[in-house]
Symmetry: C2
Subunit: 206 residues, 2 copies
């Protein structure tokens, strides 16, 4: 069944999509919307990928595709198979990879000594505001959660555990950015922090 130009072991992305298919059948477009809404916060994938990956699942026998019609416009709806559920269960046994973070804002803070204090301030402010916007989205989802106004009430507990993580992280980011802004307030330049005490910033095993 495996062709020469395709790895045969399903990836994390495969299993993440299988996880969604385990809940119900989805068209690719709906799948993409759902990923944007929740899964994408900790397993971000380009929409383009979400149109390719289900085809691989079908090729591997982990899902089935059915062509439906909305008027004259075709759409493909995917459903999980028994083998798909088995694969998903086995995947939960394998130890997860460590988290991986891409944070361009922090790169700019890290290399701030190639620019001005004003640039550093702006970048930290953007980081704080971005975290605020993301927190608004998360708080909105938390409010829906509390009201029981969710698509999968039987998954409220797992949704809540995941949402708590996202809120914690985003709050930590916002708090750090504001802490950093107040710390750099006394710096003379990006290359000269003046009397700033780096020891106070990182107390031993605080």
């Amino acid at each position: 069944m495996s062709t020469s130009c395709m790895s045969d072991t399903p990836s994390t992305t495969s299993h993440a999509l299988l996880g969604l298919l385990a809940l119900q059948r989805w068209s690719t477009y709906e799948l993409a919307k759902q990923v944007r809404r929740s899964l994408g916060w900790f397993w971000p994938r380009a929409e383009r990928k979400l149109y390719d990956e289900p085809k691989r699942l079908v090729a591997a026998g982990l899902a089935t595709a059915s062509s439906e019609m909305t008027g004259a416009r075709p759409r493909t709806v995917y459903a999980i198979t028994a083998r798909g559920r088995t694969s998903l269960r086995r995947w939960l046994d394998e130890p997860p990879a460590p988290p991986s973070l891409e944070f361009e804002g922090l790169v700019k803070v890290f290399f701030a000594d190639s620019g001005t204090l004003e640039q550093l301030r702006r970048n930290l402010t953007t980081i704080a505001e971005t975290a605020d916007r993301r927190l608004d989205e998360l708080e909105a989802r938390a409010a829906e959660n509390r009201g029981g106004d969710v698509a999968f009430p039987q998954r409220l507990h797992l949704n809540t555990i995941a949402l708590k993580y996202e809120l914690d992280q985003e709050r930590a980011t916002a708090a750090w950015a504001r802490w950093a802004l107040s710390e750099i307030a006394g710096w003379r330049s990006t290359t000269d922090p003046g009397a700033w005490d780096h020891r106070r910033a990182l107390p031993p095993s605080s």
Copy 2:
């Protein structure tokens, strides 16, 4: 100067490496080691990429390459150019992209209802232990920081700000995982949390 198969606007990765080159000349191998040590924590790139990217910097006139010899073994040492420094400064002006997180462990927690409580417990435990190990590494760097035992003492302030972020995030992750473990202790199964109160887990704007 731009060839047909290469975009002419340097990427975040380009500028991240330029940032390192702004500190001193590096061979690719040293660059890779340095990325593993600090930059890679918030801008992770495969080592393979770190051998290709500097060549693009040279092609774009942002860096220069010089071939040196260690006995009979050649090595390439890269240095930033004036245009490279200008590009870096201008890049610091552009608003940073939002952070992006890949967290396979959380995906497994999120889809825990396709598996057993035991699997969920194991995955949360792995997450906590992974965070602990990463915290050890970060604490070690913090201790070196405090002792002034660092490669770039003139960058101690920026190093400290970045290190604080990483410590905050990792501590938040470890704390969340242990919180989650204690919360699921009363669950009857991954699909039935029993009398567990999701409202208590996510209080309004806590």
